[in-house]
Amino acid sequence: MRVFICGFGTVGQGFAEVVARRQKYFLDKFGQNVTIVGVMDSKSYAVDPNGMDPLDLVSRKQSTRRVGDESYTVSTEVLDKVDYDVLVEVSPTDVKTGGVGLINIRHALSNGKDVITVNKGPLALKFRELIDLAKANRCKFRFEGSVGGAMPIINLCRESLAGEDIKSIRGIFNGTCNFILSKMDKGQPFEQALKEAQQMGYAETDPTNDIEGYDSACKVVILANSIFGRDVTFDDVQITGIISITEEAIALAASRNMVIRLIGEVSETKLEVSPRLIPKGHPLSISGTLNTAQILTDLAGPVTVSGRGAGRLETASAVLSDLIAIMDERKREA
């Protein structure tokens, strides 16, 4: 199985490490190795039809800040330089235009390549187009890691809960906001909690996407389209961030044994991200950077999943699960 990785930041490097770690598993289960035949970061690229050592790529990136010796300006031209089976698109997300990720995914699908992505921008903006493109070109298109990182939710709903009538999904889809609100539970003001989140690397220097609820909104859109079969985009989500949550509000909620959490909610009729009052002890009242989701089904009742929403190996594990699913499908079809 030949893989091309677009984006060699935290997740790309994590995925390369995971590929190196799981070679025996691939051989035992599928009788073949997974080889990385191409990789590009924002400036440079490396390609080799015979495959490259994943750990060498990681150490080169870490020591030189470049994954390859060659520079490029047009990413799709790099994609055409080598033949591959699966594109792993993990470049930085752009929720306004879809960015280079959208261009790469479109290019790969148009050329009949299977695609795995954790890039929320293209999915939140052009979900239906990309699904249709994948269908038209008979490609497999998977994106488990785009919602909740290591927390399995998309494949859980589509595969393990197949046959269930899923009424709604409510969840905490942004670990940064949850970290800030958890700190506020302990008496920290919003600004201090945000600063701490930034110092610990949970929040970006510009935290707008997280605290205004845009990141969660992208995930809600992906769930609405992929689980509920809706055709919605980012602009359809009713979004309220956590920026106006005060210490008094947290204290008043606590006086009624409640906490405030930023909840994304999706159903046939709802598409919303907003701060909500959650009773302490409720599955959605968790603290820290964890993501969690409560799936309400007609037969199984409520099903709750929880996991790390971000991180090098955590998100890479979601990409790995998609890769294995694609290899399984290919094996069945062979």
Binding site: E248, A251, A253, S255, L277
Partner: protein, 164 residues
Amino acid sequence: MIVNAELYVKDLPGQLVGSLEPISLVDGNIMGVVHNREQIVNHRICINVTFEVDDSAQLEKLKEIWKSKDMIISRMGSVYQTYTMEYMLIGEFDANYLEGLINEASEMITMDSMDMRYSSKTTTSSKRTGMIAVKTRSEEDLDRMDRFLSEKCKQSNITYVRGV
């Protein structure tokens, strides 16, 4: 749900308390008790109790306990489900604004009970926080309340936070 039950218990000391204790055992909330000593049938006296339990599973458990204590349930009625929701408002408003909202809402929605709290203005912020807890007899009423408060908050640039 709120339940009204009529029980017949043996006319012996401790039977009244014995009939009420199981309600607390299932985490129910006693709202009213009438000990009707004039109404005696087969050496048993009548107790009429109104209480609230969370769901029918709790009610079934309670009925089992009463039966095991040889208490006869002669009637169980006026049962209705109640729905609770909390709403929080954060922004620049005063107590009159909140009271006005509640008055307007109560003209449209039948509320079983309503509890309102709000914070004082602080030196660091002009924002106040108000919290309203509402109990209604239908989910539709809660939906109406949600739509009403959501709309009003949007008009007044107030952050609206509701329960789940």
